[in-house]
């Protein structure tokens, strides 16, 4: 074929031109790719969740409520003293995801969790008193049987991590705000 780099007068010069053209085209294609992928990132209006206020009034010991913010669900559970003791006693066990109960609560009576199983995202049951709470008396994920203790730590089943603790603070003794720190 005519015009291939071998039969030109100055093949080095031709190679240089071919290579730099290809490099330029490559940079162009890559930056177009970056620009396209960037359009897939969250837009301002959906990025960053809002906050919610949850009234603690009327939550009986041993029970709790599920609070919803946008698509996110949180569990606010008022633990009994037996549940708190069990959770603290659990600190000494060998855990898959090592965390002490004290690291996971601000006030021992109140356990605040994001209800999203770290396995594949189902919402675990166990917030309200009547719900299935699994072998460790905490939370139970019905999707693939992850069992959490009374501190929301993973004890058995496929979840690789403890139930996440969201940012929250006590606005008063009767009210917490979930979604940001004080």
């Amino acid at each position: 074929m005519a015009g291939t780099p071998t039969d030109v007068a100055n093949p080095d010069r031709r190679n240089f031109i071919v290579l730099s053209t290809m490099a330029m085209a490559g940079i162009g294609a890559a930056s177009a790719g970056v620009a396209l992928v960037r359009t897939m990132t969250p837009t301002r209006d959906v990025a960053g969740g809002g906050t919610i206020e949850v009234s603690l009034d009327g939550i009986a010991e041993g029970s709790g409520i599920v609070a919803t913010s946008g698509r996110k669900k949180y569990s606010v559970r008022r633990r009994t003293s037996a549940e708190i003791e069990a959770a603290v006693a659990g600190d000494a066990d060998k855990l898959r995801h090592q965390e002490t109960d004290a690291e996971r609560v601000q006030r021992p009576e109140w356990l605040v969790l994001r209800l999203q199983c770290p396995h594949l995202g189902c919402p675990p049951q166990g917030t309200a008193a009547g719900e299935k709470r699994g072998e460790f008396g905490g939370f139970f994920c019905p999707c693939h049987n992850s069992q959490f203790d009374t501190s929301g730590r993973i004890r058995k089943g496929p979840s690789p991590a403890n139930l996440p603790v969201p940012k929250y603070f006590f606005a008063s003794d009767e009210m917490i705000v979930i979604g940001k720190e004080a």
């Binding site: 897939m40 990132t41 969250p42 919402p123 999707c143 693939h144 690789p160």
Partner: protein, 445 residues
């Protein structure tokens, strides 16, 4: 082809073909290739799958003219996407038929492709020189799985939401990058409007990408030629017939039977294969029992049965990561099949031991599908027309012997062993039966 001469006599056809040689390409592909004369009905499923792809693209296109990918809710709390699907079902003329052709069609598309692949696995069609043909087929399977998942989400019913929520979460198993990928897929932290819109765009586009891969698949087929039930190469013209009219008519016959069943299901049992709960719009709560469509069940089983961590000299792979790796691996390993099977004999007809393990593999896929459909911690059972055949029982103290999860682990083991251990070893030790000299000569007595 472009350099060849036009086969047409009609001056209009000839003139056109000489300016744009596409007619001759079609003519060439129908007549120029010699096909083995002994292809049986298992060879029908390729063309059936091709027709199903066209059915899916056509019905999908016409539904897309009415569908609205929006999660915005009306005063009854029903989202627009779900509403528009109901609108297709209730108001659009022939719309119910259109939608059921599409949703049942996805199932029948999979049925055709599954038979097509098992055909290839039994008759050794993946072996040289058909490796590329096989690999393109694997790509088609994966694309189909992705496309159906995307399509299923579009309905925005209870199970659509569950599927989108759970399957996008699988990506968080990837270390470091996982969470970022999740947000990129969803267009936000949650499964919401952004996700639905991009899923619709992708569900529209990918079938055309799939069609492109199908064309490559057929091009390789025409280059290396069809395998046949005896698995031996063509020796002479006596072994072959032309595609038209021999296989056009055989295919049309098979297609008619297939379509009779397909259309009967569309007409009389369109929800038989579906999850009834998806006829309810999502309220963004996950149902406690999440199941994918039947054709994804074996892979879902492999994803969910890993409940323990693996400690490789201090490097911990979590159960979640194991599940995701295994699921990806169960598809990835199909690509290596041509090199894992060490036997020089193609057809399972001449491989007495292989046959046993092959049918074992087919059973394995069915069991895995049942595992995918059942609850992990409970006793496993086989559904029969006469009731449940239990394969596990409660051992007391919360322990179940023969739980769904345990059976799942066992058969996940067989799935991988089939490829990694059985096929490589079998080829070295098995004594195949005597192969016939050619297709047209009877087997030597």
């Amino acid at each position: 082809m472009a350099g060849s001469r036009s086969p047409f006599k009609n001056p209009l056809l000839k003139g056109f073909d000489e300016r744009l040689p596409v007619l001759r390409a079609v003519h060439h592909s129908m007549t120029a290739h010699a096909y083995p004369k002994n292809l049986n009905y298992w060879w029908n499923f390729g063309s059936i799958a091709g027709i199903m792809l066209m059915v899916m693209i056509l019905t999908g296109l016409f539904m897309a003219m009415h569908y609205k990918p929006s999660v915005e809710e009306d005063t009854y709390g029903i989202n627009q996407a779900f509403r528009s699907v109901e609108h297709i079902m209730r108001d659009v003329k022939g719309g119910m038929f259109l939608r059921y052709l599409h949703s049942v069609g996805a199932s029948f598309f999979f049925i055709a492709v599954i038979f097509h692949m098992f055909r290839g696995m039994y008759y050794g069609s993946y072996k040289a020189p058909r490796e590329v043909l096989w690999i393109l087929g694997c790509i088609i399977l994966i694309l189909m799985m992705g496309i159906s998942f995307l399509g299923y989400s579009l309905v925005w019913g209870v199970m659509s939401f569950a599927a989108a929520e759970v399957i996008t979460q699988v990506f968080t198993a990837i270390p470091v990058l996982g969470d970022g990928i999740l947000v990129l897929l969803r267009g936000g932290e949650d499964v919401d409007d952004a996700l639905l819109n991009r899923f619709f765009a992708l569900h529209f586009l990918l079938p055309f990408v799939l069609a492109g891969v199908v064309i490559l698949h057929i091009l390789t087929l025409q280059t290396v030629g069809s395998n046949n039930p005896l698995g031996i190469d063509l020796k002479s013209k006596k072994d072959t017939v032309s595609f038209h009219p021999y296989y056009t008519f055989k295919d049309i016959f098979g297609l008619s039977v297939f379509f009779t069943i397909y259309l009967a299901v569309v007409a009389w049992a369109p929800e038989r294969l579906a999850e009834a709960i998806n006829n309810q719009p999502t309220d963004y709560n996950l149902p406690s029992h999440i199941v994918p469509e039947w054709y994804l069940l074996p892979f879902y089983a492999i994803l969910k049965v890993f409940t323990w961590d693996l400690n490789l000299f201090g490097l911990v792979i979590t159960g979640k990561q194991l599940g995701a790796l295994a699921m990806a691996g169960s598809l990835g390993i199909l690509f290596l099949l041509p090199w894992l099977d060490t036997s020089p004999v193609r057809s399972g007809r001449f491989r007495p031991v292989f046959k046993i393990f092959f049918w074992g593999f087919a059973v394995c896929c069915v069991i895995l599908a049942l595992v995918g459909a059942q609850t992990s911690g409970e006793a496993f059972f086989i559904p029969t027309p006469f009731g449940r055949l239990p394969l596990g029982f409660d051992g007391g103290n919360g322990f179940v012997w023969g739980s769904t999860q345990q059976w799942g682990v066992l058969f996940t083991g067989y799935y991988f062993a089939y490829f990694i251990v059985i096929l490589p070893v079998l080829g070295l030790f098995e004594r195949p039966k005597q192969l016939p000299a050619s297709i047209s000569e009877p087997v030597l007595a």
